[in-house]
């Protein structure tokens, strides 16, 4: 048992690490205007940390925050061709979850 714990500590504390695809969407928000310009690919993320795996310390994963981060990185208005996936890291101290959102940022023509 002690040997197992020591090995775990030696393994930098990461007990479990996996990534799961969580979705595909044509667009993140309703497309208001049919005339738009594609600005390029962008990625946004939102993360949360649970102390001792169950006690939430930071705000929960936020899909909107991740989308807005991606959109703002290119100064656009919306995100299309959206793919999302979630990374989960279980450490000795707690649980880290990261939600990634990737897609094409568009800007409406006014």
């Amino acid at each position: 048992m002690i040997f197992c714990i020591m090995i775990s500590i030696l393994f930098s504390g990461c007990l479990h690490f996996n990534t799961r695809v969580t979705g595909i969407e044509p667009q993140a928000k309703i497309v208001d205007n049919k005339n738009y310009t594609v600005l390029g690919e962008a990625e946004g993320q939102s993360s949360s940390f649970n102390l001792l795996w169950i006690i939430p310390v930071t705000p929960r994963l936020d899909y909107n925050k991740a989308v807005n981060q991606a959109v703002e990185s290119k100064n656009g208005d919306n995100l299309i061709d959206v793919r999302t996936w979630k990374e989960r890291q279980v450490w000795l101290l707690g649980l880290v979850e990261i939600l990634y959102v990737r897609g094409k940022v568009i800007r409406y023509e006014r």
């Binding site: 690490f17 799961r20 695809v21 969580t22 979705g23 044509p26 049919k34 996936w85 990737r102």
Partner: protein, 135 residues
């Protein structure tokens, strides 16, 4: 004769061990109408149902090496027949365990289509046609 029975027994034991150490589970991920917005586009060709996948491995089922990439799965689906996007899409994940490793495969299924952007003139015509149809 005894040797044959012994080999048979060992083979059966090995098969039992392999079967008992292997497992498989499939879980749904999402269902969506398309991978890209198609409200302003017209489907010019439909190449039929296609499937694409991407796999990542994990050690002891605990530490994943890489990640199952949905982008690669979509490109894989469009690779054979061509097309710009997928419509009527279903996505699921299959996890398989073999002794000390496990594989995580993301599978994307849908109809591959080629899209043509509608010009403003065509859209205007379509809007004008709508009131006539009601009469």
């Amino acid at each position: 004769m005894n040797m044959n029975i012994r080999y048979l027994f060992i083979s059966a034991a090995c098969a039992c061990i392999i079967i008992s150490q292997s497992a498989c589970i499939t879980s749904p991920v999402t269902v969506t109408s398309s991978t890209t917005p198609i409200h302003d586009k017209k489907i010019s060709s439909n190449y039929g149902r296609v499937q694409g996948s991407h796999r990542a491995w994990s050690v002891f089922g605990l530490w994943m090496i890489g990640r199952p990439d949905i982008d690669i799965a979509i490109k894989d689906a469009l690779k054979n027949n061509g097309g710009d996007a997928l419509i009527n899409v279903t996505c699921y994940e299959t996890t398989m365990w073999f002794f000390f490793v496990s594989s995580h495969t993301v599978v994307v299924e849908g109809e591959a289509v080629t899209l043509v952007k509608e010009t403003p003139a065509v859209e205007r015509n379509r809007k004008n046609e709508k009131p006539n149809r009601k009469k």
